[in-house]
Amino acid sequence: MAVAIAPAPAGVSLEALAEKARLLRKRIITMTTQAGSGHPSSSLSTVEVLTALYFGGVLRYDPRNPRWPERDRFILSKGHAAPALYAALAEAGFFPVALLRSLRKAGSPLEGHPNMRVLPGVEASTGSLGQGLSIGVGHALAARLDNRLYRVYVLTGDGENDEGQIWEAAMAAAKYHLDQLTCIIDHNGFQQTGPVPEVMPLVPLADKWRAFGWHARDIDGHDLGQVLDALHAAARVHGQPTAIIAHTRKGRGVSFVENDYTYHGKALTPEEADRALEELGWK
């Protein structure tokens, strides 16, 4: 059997992880501007969560054997944040970084939303919101059937919590006591047409998850220490799944995009991308 691989050693420094996060932001902005479309702002809010998962010693994976049966699973339910996932997978070694340039082009496995049939490391085809948590429940039930110890992480958007299927899945996960399942909610506060409290209020979000039988906690989703701590703590919860409500900022890291929902689904122009990379210290 393959040995569990934690790409970052347990003693990885937060400074090194912050540098990795800065690199992922650069890749997200560059690839979406090259593609001329995509959802960079929805991707930027997820960067610390993805950095902690892939490079903070949380996920066990083997990029040379993407279907390794014992691997931990990460399911990007908010599929429009694909650029963030692609940046992380490339950096983790699932495919060459150069492939990021082909984002959204015909013939490329880097489609606008993740397609598990064509890209190694993608665990679920997503893009129709609300479906990833159910798929995660299926992976967790399969782990139980097969006596495997892998863990399952699902990242949803906050607006995605409007979908009824999320709560169907939440009930099922609690029923089956799926403590190997963690759902991270990227609570960036905005959905396509406006602020979450105006489009569809979610408050009290953590209490909702608790009422559905989950262990739930709120964290600052851009504080790598808090993200790592919450992910590791989830593995110590017994008998119930964990929801981590990661309070984030849409467009995090780029001042003129941050919290401006009109940037949803829009790539930066080459000039804007230059300014963004300058703000991030890449110019």
Partner: protein, 320 residues
């Protein structure tokens, strides 16, 4: 095969009962088979599997969207997942999930819609899945099977288990006439000819196969020789058998317990428009929902009996 030409068919088990038994039998030979239901197990008859293999059965409650998503996750991990619910609820309610989480990634999820058609009867139109064939065939990569009786249902379940990708199987609520002997075979993409004839071909699936056989007997008394094709494999459809029927009999009637648009009739018409255009008649529900009533009363009122097939056949022959 030829079915005994004049003896009336005896009534046998419902296709959903046969499905439940076949699924339980599959559990013994296929350890990778997992079953998920949305709290209709004692109606869909997945309860038979649940009793035999409780560890491989999950009831996710009245939540069809989650039902399909959970099946997708299990299938991604190498399981062959069977899910069942009423045809009226499963496809219309969870269509986005079937498209996005099953069809698009082409996973091994076998979807069974029971209580299809108007023979649900007294429970009324809210319970009647009458558009499931249209919806299922529109899912890219799905194969769609509509067995005619209990024996054929068992054969369809065995065949579906041997297929890699997604499958939809339509089953019904009531007991149905016996057409096939136990142990019969089913091959995806192959029609079975149940009766020879050269004046017209009656193409049918599901409960309309028995009605087509009865119609052929009635037509024979009127001097019309009708061929009968059971098109249990709706997708892929047997285009060769249809072309042969068109060339040798010159007219077809397609009979199904389904709405007019997108059902077997649409599929047959599309195939023959390309390969061998001939007059085609249609026996189906048209563009309307039914109502509560006994199955027999509803079949008569909504035009799905042997007599309706006979009338449509005679009218279609005149258009040759």
């Amino acid at each position: 095969m030829e079915v005994g030409s004049e003896a009336p068919l005896r009534v046998g088990p419902a296709t959903r009962e046969a499905f439940g038994e076949a699924l339980r039998d599959l559990g013994a030979t296929h350890p990778e088979v997992v079953v998920v239901d949305a709290d209709l197990n004692n109606s869909t008859r997945t309860d038979l599997f649940a009793e035999a293999y409780p560890d491989r059965f999950f009831n996710v409650g009245i939540a069809e969207s989650n039902l399909v998503g959970v099946a997708s996750g299990l299938a991604s991990c190498g399981k062959q997942v069977w899910i069942a619910s009423f045809a009226a609820f499963l496809l219309p309610n969870a269509y986005d999930q079937l498209r996005m989480s099953v069809a698009f990634p082409h996973l091994s999820v076998k979807v069974v819609g029971t209580h299809a058609g108007i023979t649900v009867g007294e429970d009324g139109p809210s319970q009647m899945g009458v558009e499931d064939i249209a919806l299922a065939t529109a899912l890219a990569g799905f194969q769609v099977f509509v067995p005619a009786d209990a024996a054929e249902t068992r054969a369809v379940v065995r065949a579906a288990a041997a297929l890699e990708g997604p499958v939809y199987i339509r089953c019904g609520r009531p007991r149905v006439p016996v057409i096939y002997p136990d142990g019969c075979e089913f091959t995806p993409g192959q029609a079975t000819q149940l009766r020879e004839g050269d004046d017209v071909t009656l193409v049918a699936c599901g409960i309309l196969v028995a009605a087509a056989l009865e119609a052929a007997r009635l037509l024979a008394k009127q001097g019309v020789a009708a061929r009968v094709l059971n098109m249990a494999s709706v997708k892929p459809v047997d285009e060769e058998a249809l072309e042969r029927a068109a060339r040798e009999t010159g007219a077809l009637v397609v009979a199904e317990e389904h709405l007019s648009y997108g059902g077997l009739g649409s599929i047959v018409a599309q195939a023959l428009a390309r390969r061998a255009p001939v007059p085609i008649g249609f026996v189906n529900l048209g563009d309307t929902y039914a109502e509560s009533g006994t199955p027999a009363d509803l079949l008569a009122k909504y035009g799905l009996t042997a007599d309706h097939i006979v009338r449509e056949a005679r009218a279609t022959i005149l258009r040759k």
